[in-house]
């Protein structure tokens, strides 16, 4: 049985070009980018080309605005540190930020910051930005990982023109246009493994590098802002993923959206007697993401059932402990919290794959409903 992987928002397999690169002789033989010899220079050249191309692909004016880090969590933490170290004030984030933003924000209270949360409405949009007006740091994700809602970062900038505006764009890149300069943000987080690069690489884009103080000190790499030997092979992989992911984006995204809509429609038609509720902003939603609530069912049981049927999906919770706590995102949206599945598509699906997945979802739901209420 060929498995069908519909959990790209959690981690996306290496793109073919990335896989080819990672298996290459050159990737295996890079020197330390700080070394003077040919092997070191080769690594350094890859890094600087990646910096230039990633800056261009994501709308940053200068390559030096791109700092390479280990991943999304580090990018978010470094941004929040940069925005807040040595000062106090009001720090505000939306109620649906990823814990990689939400937790460091909450921890600012320990150093005297006043921390506040911006509530969201039923589709995950911030309806009222007034609580952000006097923020010194404002965190607004580009798109939510669980429900796919695309947030209005321009409205955030408008509400708080002087705040350090940090944008976690980890889920948007490769799925929706991300333009660092046009968004008017001060920092923007990128993670490799959500876009088909390996785990272990990410980037932080910063408008003004001089405002960043390092968290990690050491050999002074990345302009002294992020010490540690750069992962040149992974940085090259990130370049390949970002460049591919942002090329022909609108065309690819419309295609994925069509597949996603068809998947949702097939599932809804197959369960017409009790169809799932689609969660998220139907007017502004990531093309690859479908978050669905199946009433009266356990999401965990659905995930296990679908896994046994060869389909990998996620529960609508970022619950890492397996404790089954309801998702903070769904709670903040006052959306259903039980029986919520997230299906997230990848850039390339085989023609029949999604029809098979839809049929398996319908069959799984029917079986579990039969156990819940036998007739």
């Amino acid at each position: 049985m060929r498995r069908i992987y519909l959990d790209h928002n959690a981690s996306s397999p290496w793109r073919p070009a990335v896989a080819q690169w990672m298996r290459s002789e050159q990737a295996a033989n890079l020197g330390n980018p700080s070394s003077f010899h040919a092997e070191g220079r080769a690594a350094r050249q890859l890094i600087e080309r990646a910096r230039t191309e990633i800056a261009a692909a994501l709308g940053a004016d200068h390559p030096e605005q791109v700092l390479f880090v280990s991943g999304g969590t580090e990018a978010n933490n470094l941004a929040i540190h940069a925005a807040t170290q040595g000062s106090v004030g009001r720090a505000v984030g939306t109620a649906i930020e990823h814990p990689a933003v939400g937790r460091p924000l909450a921890a600012l209270a320990d150093s005297g910051w006043q921390v506040a949360t911006l509530p969201v409405d039923g589709v995950g949009q911030v309806a009222d930005w007034s609580a952000a007006v006097d923020a010194r740091l404002l965190c607004v994700m580009r798109a939510n990982n669980e429900v796919g809602t695309i947030l209005d970062v321009a409205a955030a900038r408008h509400a708080a023109p002087n705040a350090w505006l940090h944008c976690d764009a980890i889920q948007a890149i490769g799925k929706f246009p991300v333009d660092f300069k046009a968004l008017g943000v001060d920092s923007l987080a990128v993670a490799g493994h959500k876009i088909g690069a390996p785990v272990g690489i990410g980037a932080l884009l910063v408008r003004d590098r001089n405002r960043v103080q390092p968290v990690q000190r050491g050999g002074g790499q990345e302009f002294g802002l992020r010490s540690g030997t750069q992962a040149a092979a992974l940085i090259e992989a990130l370049r390949l993923a970002v460049v591919e992911g942002t090329t022909n984006l609108m065309k690819r995204s419309l295609h994925i959206e069509h597949l996603r809509d068809e998947l949702e429609a097939t599932i809804q038609a197959g369960l017409a007697d009790n169809p799932p509720t689609i969660i998220g902003d139907q007017q502004a939603r990531l093309a690859n993401t479908s978050c669905m609530a199946f009433t009266g069912l356990s999401a965990e049981a659905l995930v296990m059932e679908l896994d046994a049927r060869g389909v990998a999906v996620a529960t609508g919770s970022a619950c890492s402990s397996g404790s089954g706590r309801p998702s903070a995102v769904l709670v903040a949206m006052e959306a259903p919290v039980h029986g919520v599945l997230r299906l997230s598509l990848g850039p390339d699906h085989q023609p029949d794959e999604l029809a098979t997945a839809a049929a398996q979802v319908v069959a799984a739901v029917r079986r579990l409903r039969q156990i819940a209420a036998p007739v």
Partner: protein, 122 residues
């Protein structure tokens, strides 16, 4: 996280269904932590659990626990069955995740309720 035995009970539950009739005893239980529910119906003939069925709106653990509980109860004398504890079911499905003790607790509570109802002639 679930053992192969537990997965087997989840994917191919034993005694899933509902019994009806005047001689049926019913037991229900809820897992207060997550809202999962279990419902057992059983028929006692000659002092033994002759027929048993469950339904559950719950996670894989809840379904596996109900299935294993029914399988254990089937054919047992009511007196002996009343001694059932969640540890017995957890041993059958071992290794059982600690986070899922609420599931075995719920299945056993529904079983004891149904057995008590049967024993008291309700």
């Amino acid at each position: 996280m679930y053992s192969p035995t537990a997965m087997d009970h989840f994917l191919q539950p034993r005694h899933c269904g509902v019994l009806s009739g005047a001689d049926i005893a019913i037991g229900t239980a809820t897992n207060a932590d997550c809202g999962d529910t279990a419902r057992l119906t059983l028929r006692v003939i000659d002092g033994c659990v002759a027929h048993i069925a469950f339904s559950s709106q719950g996670c894989a653990g809840a379904i596996a626990a109900c299935s294993a509980t029914c399988a254990w109860l089937h054919g047992r004398p009511v007196g002996a069955a009343l001694g059932l504890t969640r540890q017995t079911i957890e041993e059958l499905l071992a290794p059982w995740p600690a986070a899922k003790r609420g599931c075995t607790q719920m299945a056993v509570a529904a079983a004891i309720a149904a057995l008590s109802a049967a024993a008291s002639g309700r």
